[in-house]
């Protein structure tokens, strides 16, 4: 982005760091004209805390089809440099959709208390 564009971007949306929190608007006159959401890691907070069961991928048996990556509603499954899938436990809320969808049944939901 060119310089003026960056400025404008900051003016409207602010950068990730300086993006105002909802609480920063003191009253309605300070609000922007319309409600917008900006992409931000964990905009709902650290959702990893919601988890009661944790998905664990059996990497040695995994055929790397990517179905779990596709189905994860929170987008916390990523492919690492070795080509293996990894789960970002900071934000994984433990919904279990990946385990349900895994065609080779190589994702196991384990109790958090046992981990």
């Amino acid at each position: 982005m060119s310089k003026p564009e960056e400025e404008k971007w900051k003016k409207i949306c602010k950068s990730k760091e300086e993006r105002p929190k909802v609480q920063e608007y003191k009253n309605w006159t300070e609000l922007p004209p319309i409600p917008i959401s900006l992409p931000l890691d964990g905009s709902m907070g650290r959702t990893g805390d919601w988890r009661t069961f944790r998905p664990v991928i059996n990497t040695s048996e995994c055929n790397k089809c990517g179905i779990c990556w596709m189905y994860c509603p929170e987008g916390v499954i990523q492919k690492n440099e070795d080509g293996d899938y990894e789960i970002d436990l900071e934000y994984c809320k433990g919904c279990g959709i990946c385990a349900t969808e895994c065609p080779t049944k190589n994702i196991e939901m384990k109790r958090e208390s046992e981990m």
Partner: protein, 419 residues
Amino acid sequence: MTEAEQRDFIQKKESKILKGNIAAAYAAKSARVQVISAYPITPQTTVVEKLSEFVDGGLMPGTQYIKVESEHSVMASIVGASIAGTRTFTATSGQGLFYMNEMIHWAAGARLPIVTTLASRGPAPPWNIWADYFDVINARDTGWMSAFCSTHQEIYDEILMSYKVTENPDVMLPKFVAYGGFVLSHTSKPVMIEEQDLVDKFLPPLPDEEGWEHIFIDPERPMMHGNLIMPSGFYMEFRMKIHDAMVRAKEKIKKVAEEFERMFGRSYGNGLVQEYKLDGADVGIVIYGDLALQMEQAVDELRDEGYKVGMLKLRYFRPFPEEDIRKAAKKVKVLGVVDRATAFGSPTGGPVSSEVKSTLHNSGIETKVLPMISGLGGREVTLEQQKDQLKILVKMNETGELPDDLLYGTLWHGKLEVE
């Protein structure tokens, strides 16, 4: 037209005999709208037909014309185009506007400066395609501004002024420009088409690639609009902002009307209302749309006969010019309000008379208000009938009594009588 001619074509100032619909199409062309999406409906059809000819004939270079399968899709595509940062235009009528209704709210909620003309027609059933402003009134609470036109020239002028008002960063609300179906859309009168350079100078520049300030589509700057707000979120406050922008738009509308007059020499009162012979009048009449022009003639003729009558042409319904209404009401003892639209079950007559009455409530102004309804579904309103309306008000002022023949406090004027 050859390619070279198309390239060199620049609108010169010229006066032509045009149908109201064609005047609207010329206005969209003069405003250099970038995206038109349209679905034909009587009596609006020739607006979008003419625009398709302009686009196809190369007279609107850079304009995208989107053909869709319904009015709902018209507004959906226009909302998308406007979010992407373009000047947009469409036109519809009656049932088409009703079908569009859901997307209309999306346009206002996203604060998009979309201009839509309405060749207003009566709602069905029974099917009716003739002049009746019920369609624009029906969109009263959507967050759209709405203006009425009373002449062919005003259609052209009002559309140009609309872009200047709607694209003001403090306003950013969509707007309807309404004129009576057939009575204005299909009659022909001289219309001055302004020189392109002058129109370009008058209007704000077209939005650049960055789009509007508050909403845009840019992969480099991703944003999401239209998601859920919980009751504890700012939903209510964003509604307040729309109301605030609408009310404050009145000042901008006045300023734009002033600038328009300076640049093109045609006056539309203060932009919101236009007084006509109201000074020194005992009775006045508030009236809008095509009926307002003919009422001027009725006022002229009654003034010649010695009656002290005047009128106030209402140009805007939203935002509603309550200060001007109070000012006008103070000048007269009896004020009639003529609606070419209905507000079923309303305790105060038609839609505009309701607004006038509530504006005067608790204001200390003692002026009597008589709601009138006239010309529904394109019923012809003759000059004689309009003179009769004024005379009823004069009589009301003289006797201090309401006329007979009211239906729940409202005079439905021009009813059929079997001979």
